[in-house]
């Protein structure tokens, strides 16, 4: 099921994996099944979450202290995947994925029924040069980030690559979350 194929508005919910407790994520997902959300975005915690503001930074820090890592997250998602209807979008940074192995990561996504990921520090150029073949092989879409400064040739590529997912429009030259 791909929620991004229709043109109606969608509501997604973001949770950081492993916050506030190591096993919170799966419990959460199971509990919100019947609520009116269209997808769940799970944040894979990273030590240097450069696109995220203080709230998500803090949750990542706690999650890492709890012992969350990518292997464990896939195990957790795998254990509930037969009970969940809501599509899961995985959000995280390139370095942990790189260490895990991109092909390994995409294979695990496919295995657990995940079709969409957001890797904000993966540019279109890096995607095309190193990873596009693998993404296509496992049928996974990356949601690229665009800003008002994104040049038109990149915009056109993003439009093409994101036809099965959504585009992340960055509203300001800043991190996520409220500003003082």
């Amino acid at each position: 099921m791909n929620p991004f194929k229709s043109e109606t508005k969608k509501i997604g919910l973001f949770v950081t994996a492993g916050y506030p407790l190591l096993d919170s994520t799966t419990k959460w997902i199971e509990q919100i099944q019947d609520k009116k959300f269209d997808f769940i975005e799970i944040g894979m915690p990273f030590s240097d979450p450069l696109a995220d503001g203080p709230v998500i930074q803090k949750s990542s820090e706690v999650a890492l202290k709890n012992g969350m890592n990518m292997r464990l997250l896939f195990e957790q998602i795998s254990s509930i995947k037969d009970n969940i209807q809501l599509p899961i979008v995985l959000m995280g940074y390139l370095n942990p994925v790189f260490q895990f192995g991109m092909d390994n990561f995409l294979a695990k996504c496919e295995e657990t029924g995940i079709q969409h990921v957001i890797l904000p520090d993966m540019s279109v150029e890096i995607y095309e040069r190193f990873y596009q073949t693998s993404f296509e092989k496992y049928n996974i879409s990356n949601c690229f980030l665009i800003t008002t400064q994104t040049p038109e040739n990149i915009l056109n590529k993003v439009k093409m690559y994101s036809s099965n997912s959504f585009v992340y429009l960055v509203s300001s030259n800043s991190t996520t979350g409220e500003k003082d």
Partner: protein, 104 residues
Amino acid sequence: MQDEFGQVVEPYSLSAGLDYPGMGPLHAHSISTKRTQAISITDDEALIAVQQLTRNEGIIPALESAHALAALNKMSFSENEIVVVNLSGRGDKDLNIYFETCDI
């Protein structure tokens, strides 16, 4: 500098300029293709190099540059070989550390 899961780990160095976990892609590439040999230097080895250059040449090197100088003690050269060391910074910014740690 990272752990097995790709999380960045907290680095340590007496030198502020080296107390950083990142590495430039050019350096990483030239080391992995073996065009460059990387040598690690301890705080103590760098401080010895500071004193050697200061005493022998009258030049106070920055702590970062002292790491490059300290590598000379770990390499062997043939006679008449010309050796170039990039002295990337001045040591006057590090004088407080030198006063605390060196016998000057």
